[in-house]
């Protein structure tokens, strides 16, 4: 239920066995490589060099070719991380063989590509003809137009205004014939003496002129259209024929192709991984991060190879090289679904508390508090969990639990689909105890802000940032100031005077403020005067934040009251409907629609308000969200 602890590891080994060793490391799936230049000691580093790129890219090229062979044969490639023993022993032969297939298939591919290009060109021709048909112009008329220069083609739609601005003062006619996504087909008609200027304008906006092939021009437009359609069909058939020939090559050599695919798949990844490390003629070295609880498994893999060595280091030691540890979150299944709320803001830093459990619990609590209703909660819960089951969406799961929380608060408030007399409250009704709930909200605010500050202090402790821990606005000094101020304000409201001796407590408050003020000043090595001025303004900002963060929680009671208030409005409307055959039904309809509106609109607003409280009032106090996700090197297509 936290950020997983990491270990830094260095893997060294004999290059002769690199494929076997590293394919297992990749299959292990929990090793994130880092740049070896920083991590591996200088003396080892100088004896290593990097020369994987050319080999890696040739394997990648080979792998892509094999994937393409699969695709062309209508099969989806399913490479397995398996090194082929047959190929491993006679690699040169298979390279040669594969090169022959490559040559044959490339030739076929080239022919197919040319045909596809022709097909695309014909497609444009047909489209061209279709658009011209809509203008009711005969091709012959257009091409033989005397005394004018006619151009047909397309531009990016965003350039259309620019084209019009460009020809504004020129005797040039532009007709927008058709729009297709971001493209715009235009017909440009100009006087011959304006051709040069027109061309310049068209070139500057990357006009793509389309010219009809001469051979298809003769005849009426309908006839030309069908001739082009036939040509398209013939070209399609030719492509199919060539593809079948291509497939033949594939099926004749399928067993080898599968083996080669697997083999090159592994070697591509191994070489990619080696690209992050260093190599000499005989050895390779790699460095990276591994979750601490997975290190033992990696150790077991490496010890199976007598030609390999694993060096394990503690995270802080490894970080001394300048490599910041990545973050891997490990939460219980329940909390895991709430990680999405945290990730929407940022990803926790390695030296930071994972706020997910706090977010999960506080989110449910705050949502329920603002949207407390047994009936609405149950509906939301049902809808949420259904959505989760159908779409596997974490939001559905969160909504489902938010609905349950809402129902529980509904029991405390005695509210059922807005009706406040069906069930008696286990606690109090917000509508009848507005002042009481306002007070409770502010105290909840104090509690939440304090919790955020405590989490912030734990983060400072983890980072060993003593100055922020002691002097920071979110540190002990700030915490002391906040609680002392809260205590004094509460005392004043309860007893009408500040706690005695007032000057002593005010003095303590000022001292704590001075400590907070000093933090930034002490941090600055140069130009302390300027730092002091900034610090003064930041101090002002900090005090305002204490106040605004706390007061912001008033919205809890406001929405709790609002929930009952909106329903009362609909109830009042429904009660104005009297008499008539459908009065009962009309009243029901008003209440039903009212409930729908409350569920949809208010539910959404409360959801957003809860997120707002989490992000602005809580996260900003302790969560940087500047972490780096742990991205282990794994086999992937």
């Amino acid at each position: 239920m936290a950020v997983e602890r990491m270990n830094g590891v260095t893997i060294c080994g004999n290059r002769k066995y690199q494929a076997e060793i590293l394919s297992q490391v990749i299959s292990f799936g929990n090793f994130e490589p880092v740049s070896w230049e920083k991590v591996i000691p200088k003396e080892i580093r100088t004896s290593l060099n990097q020369e994987t790129t050319s080999r890696s890219s040739s394997w990648e090229e080979f792998y892509r070719l094999l994937v393409k062979l699969h695709e062309l044969s209508g099969r989806k490639p399913h490479p397995r991380p398996v090194l082929s023993k047959t190929i491993g022993q006679d690699l040169e032969k298979f390279w040669e063989l594969a090169q022959i297939w490559e040559k044959e298939m490339s030739q076929k591919l080239e022919e197919i590509a040319q045909l596809k290009q022709e097909l695309r060109r014909l497609g444009y021709t047909r489209r061209h003809l279709r658009t011209l048909r809509s203008l009711e112009i005969e091709i012959k008329d257009l091409t033989e137009l005397q005394g004018f220069v006619v151009k047909f083609g397309r531009i990016l739609a965003m350039y259309f205004d620019r084209l019009i601005e460009g020809i504004n003062d020129l005797p040039v006619l532009v007709i927008e014939v058709d729009r297709e996504g971001e493209s715009c087909w235009v017909l440009v008609i100009a006087l011959p003496r304006m051709e040069e200027e027109t061309n310049r304008i068209l070139n500057s906006i990357h006009f793509e002129q389309y010219t009809l092939p001469e051979v298809i021009l003769p005849g009426p437009i309908e006839e030309v259209y069908f001739r082009v359609s036939d040509q398209i069909k013939r070209t399609q058939l030719e492509i199919e024929k060539k593809t079948i020939e291509l497939k033949e090559i594939f099926y004749q050599n399928r067993t080898y192709i599968y083996d080669l695919l697997d083999h090159s798949y592994v070697l591509c990844h191994v070489n990619q991984l080696l690209g992050t490390g260093g190599m000499s003629d005989n050895f390779f070295a790699l460095a990276g991060w591994v979750p601490a609880d997975k290190v033992e498994k990696l150790e077991k893999i490496i010890t199976e190879h007598p030609q390999a060595l694993l060096i394990i280091e503690e995270d802080r030691e490894f970080e001394k090289t300048g490599e910041e540890a990545p973050t891997l979150l490990t939460n219980f299944s329940f909390f895991q679904r709430f990680e999405v709320l945290v990730k929407m803001y940022g990803f926790p830093n390695y030296r930071e508390i994972d706020p997910t459990p706090v977010v999960a619990l506080s989110f449910l609590f705050l949502f329920g508090f603002m949207f407390g209703d047994v009936g609405h909660g149950l509906v939301l819960s049902l809808a949420g969990f259904l959505y989760y089951l159908v779409a596997k969406s974490d939001f559905g799961y969160i909504l489902g639990w938010a609905g349950i929380s809402s129902s529980l608060f509904g029991l405390l408030y005695g509210s059922f689909f807005g009706f406040e007399y069906i069930i008696s409250p286990w606690w109090r009704r917000p509508m009848e105890n507005i002042s009481y709930f306002l007070g409770v909200s502010v105290f909840l605010g104090v509690g939440m802000v304090s919790l955020a500050m405590i989490l912030g202090m734990i983060n400072s402790l983890q980072r060993k940032d003593w100055r922020s821990l002691i002097l920071g606005g979110g540190g002990l000094a700030g915490f002391g100031f906040y609680w002392l101020a809260v205590w004094m304000v509460v005392s004043y409201f309860l007893r009408g005077e500040l706690p005695a001796p007032a000057f002593l407590w005010v003095g303590v408050l000022l001292i704590l403020l001075v400590l907070v003020f000093l933090k930034d000043v002490l941090e600055t090595k140069t130009n302390r005067g300027e730092a002091a001025i900034q610090s003064f303004f930041l101090l002002f900002d900090e005090i305002l934040r204490f106040l605004s963060n706390t007061v912001s929680f008033i919205r809890l009671s406001a929405f709790a009251v609002n929930h009952a208030g909106i329903f009362l409005a609909f109830l009042a409307i429904s009660e104005t409907i009297n008499g008539g055959a459908f009065a009962g039904f009309s009243r029901f309809l008003v209440l039903f629609l009212g409930n729908l509106l409350i569920l949809g609109l208010e539910g959404l607003v409360v959801f957003i308000q809860t997120l707002r409280l989490e992000y602005y009032e809580l996260f900003s106090r302790f969560f940087s969200g500047q972490g780096r996700v742990f991205q282990p090197f794994r086999f992937r297509h």
């Binding site: 990016l156 965003m158 620019r162 460009g166 971001e182 310049r200 803001y345």
Partner: protein
């Protein structure tokens, strides 16, 4: 437009972290690039970005990349504190970085790996979760078709698709880069139009000046250095017009003599930039390479003075930080190639006097 005091506080602190003239004078006194990196490592503005690096191992190019990346990181951080139009403005600036990434990737893929993949990958701006495009993955493609299908679902897809037929005849990088720039600036212009009136006024003043000066420089180069015809030039300007609206921009492209062109500019609100021009390549280069940027630097300075508008401070600060990094790269080049400090002064965007350094 609501004032966001939280953001004002953050930006005020970041402005305090910007380098001073004294810092730049000290940096110009460094003998080696590692000296510059070491100096920066001890400044509050760059310490977080350099703390994890072994300065001795840091190559000049890497240092430049770290500095450029710092611009992105700060914006991503500020985004957490921004609201409404501030977020949109940050998104637009980040979109600019994303477009630059896409240009780099397109160039790499279509020119078939003109330099090692690892080197190009390092040059990508890291946009974290903000960007939906996995540029590292795109770099591994080999054809325009693969690139196109990988962009499916992003806002670039349709743009690339519309340009696809141009690629049948072979890579046409200029056309795609120009189209991307055009797309970015027209999107920016449309985005600003949706702002509230006060935010719109601010954003237009900021980005509009940028668009105007970009267009003026472009027209100068294309008309009077490459001698392109006016009809060619107007189509290549960026669609971000402020004072130089389409009519005025067309008037500028239609000028045939440099004196006529500069005369037009000296009668514009930007007269300060072009005042005292002479028909010499050196002076004209100085005007278009430095003075236009210095003017924007001064404008950005004025923007951050408005302590009551978080949007104004955000716009000003983002530009100042960008200019600072550009000046730092000038310093790095200067030190790396052991040039005279006066040369660096000539290319500085900020007004730094290095006379006192000439003896060092």
């Amino acid at each position: 437009m609501v004032t966001n005091f939280g953001l004002i506080g953050k930006i005020s602190a970041l402005i305090g972290d910007l380098l001073t003239d004294e810092d730049f004078q000290n940096l110009l006194g460094e003998q080696k690039v590692t000296g510059i990196a070491s100096y920066l490592k001890n400044t509050p503005g760059y310490q977080p970005y350099l703390s994890s690096y072994d300065i001795e191992l840091l190559h000049r190019r890497d240092l430049e990349l770290i500095l450029n990346q710092s611009n992105v990181d700060i914006l991503l951080r500020l985004r957490n504190f921004s609201q409404a139009e501030e977020t949109t403005v940050i998104d637009f600036i980040l979109l600019g970085f994303e477009v630059e990434n896409l240009k780099l990737v397109t160039k790499f893929v279509l020119l078939e790996a003109y330099s090692p993949l690892e080197e190009v990958e390092k040059r990508l701006y890291q946009l974290a979760n903000w960007s939906k495009v996995d540029f590292g993955r795109l770099l591994r493609y080999h054809t325009f078709e693969e690139l196109l299908s990988a962009l499916s679902g992003t806002h670039y897809y349709q743009l690339f698709q519309a340009a696809s037929s141009r690629f049948v005849r072979g890579p046409n990088l200029y056309s795609i880069e120009n189209s991307l720039d055009y797309w970015y600036f027209s999107r920016l212009a449309k985005g600003i139009e949706r702002f509230s009136s006060s935010a719109k006024k601010l954003a237009w003043r900021f980005f509009g000046i940028q668009g105007d000066l970009l267009n003026v420089e472009l027209i100068y180069r294309l008309r009077f250095i490459y001698h392109l015809a006016p009809e060619n030039v107007y189509g290549l300007t960026v669609p971000l017009f402020y004072y130089f609206d389409p009519d005025r921009a067309r008037d500028l492209t239609n000028t045939s003599q440099i004196s006529e062109f500069m005369g037009y500019l000296t009668r514009s609100p930007y007269r300060k930039v072009f005042w005292g021009w002479e028909e010499s390549a050196e002076i004209l280069d100085e005007i278009f390479e430095r003075r236009t940027l210095s003017y924007r630097y001064q404008t950005a300075k004025n923007f951050v003075k408005s302590k009551l508008s978080s949007l104004s401070m955000l716009l000003g600060y983002s530009a100042l930080k960008d200019f600072e990094v550009r000046d730092l790269i000038t310093v790095i080049e200067d030190v790396r190639y052991s040039l005279d400090a006066r040369l660096a002064e000539r290319y500085f965007i900020r007004p730094v006097e290095v006379v006192s350094l000439s003896g060092s």
